[in-house]
């Protein structure tokens, strides 16, 4: 299969170098469109007034915190199962961005919760499981950085990523399984969304923007991991960024 060639670090380095500027550019354009829709086109909410505009970043950040963890689990599984060298590098490249989105999800949620619920934080199932996700991210980062041997670090990290991924469906379904203060899904695959079309569009465009940013960031970051691990390889010495 054609994409298997990117399992070679040298190929991935070149591919990542081409993809990340495009992804960042796309993220910038989508952010501009999403913010325009969210602040100028979408009207105030009839119950929540202007405060609801936080959801245009809160929901995308929350979704991405889950999507990135699932992507890490996928790479971890690939790495453990097929011993591909780049899998661990991709898992590591995704983790900081996932942790950032997870933190931002909790932060923006607190700033929405205070005026709407009257509390920055409650120990309900949705919030608690998202907090556990943040600890999983931080645990993964701390563990992989504490182990010097890259292959052992990758394997230990992969176990954390795979075990931790059970938390993702718990977050997603928490609002159904438990009686949470956090509201149910506004957008679901099984029924039509319970929000106005323009609000939904603003949210979806911002989600795509965050997605493009995460892709750009992961590809930008993986190049440094490749350089560090392949520093003795001849192709690294021939890179034009190694001149001077």
């Amino acid at each position: 299969m054609f994409w298997l060639q990117y399992a070679a670090p040298q190929r991935l380095y070149a591919l990542a170098g081409r993809v990340y500027p495009l992804a960042f550019a796309l993220a910038a354009v989508l952010t501009a469109v999403g913010l325009y829709l969210g602040f100028w086109v979408a009207p105030a909410d009839f119950q929540q007034g202007q405060a609801y505009r936080i959801i245009f970043i809160h929901v995308p950040a929350s979704w991405m915190s889950m999507v990135i963890y699932v992507a890490m689990a996928f790479w971890a599984w690939l790495g453990l199962g097929f011993k591909t060298r780049v899998s661990g590098m991709m898992t590591q490249a995704l983790a900081p961005t996932g942790a950032l989105f997870c933190f931002l999800s909790l932060w923006t949620g607190a700033l929405w919760g205070k005026p709407m619920w009257g509390a920055w934080w409650v120990w309900d199932a949705r919030l608690t499981s998202e907090l556990i996700l943040l600890f999983l991210y931080l645990g993964y980062i701390a563990l992989t950085r504490a182990i010097d041997d890259p292959r052992r670090a990758d394997r230990a990290g992969a176990v954390v990523a795979l075990v931790g991924v059970v938390n993702v469906p718990i977050i997603y379904f928490s609002v159904k399984w438990w009686n949470t203060l956090h509201q149910g899904a506004s957008v679901s695959l099984t029924k039509s969304p319970s929000m106005a079309a323009v609000m939904l569009w603003a949210m979806l465009v911002m989600t795509l923007a965050f997605w493009a940013y995460a892709v750009g960031m992961a590809f930008y970051r993986v190049r440094q991991t490749i350089l560090e691990r392949e520093h003795d390889a001849a192709w690294v010495g021939e890179l034009k960024e190694m001149a001077a």
């Binding site: 602040f39 202007q50 505009r53 350089l227």
Partner: protein, 61 residues
Amino acid sequence: MNWSSWAEFWDMGGYAFYVWGSYGVVALGVALELWLAAGRRAEVLLTLRRSRDEALAGDAP
């Protein structure tokens, strides 16, 4: 059109602290991550060039 003036826009119907507190920290977080990642790239390339130059200097007669 949602806003009749910039002042009204910044006020966010009285929720300015919560709305801008959210968007501001998201912008700050993204800026910080980009800055840290760019710093790491510069650092990695510098380290690699130095070790290569040292190896070359060691080979010289």
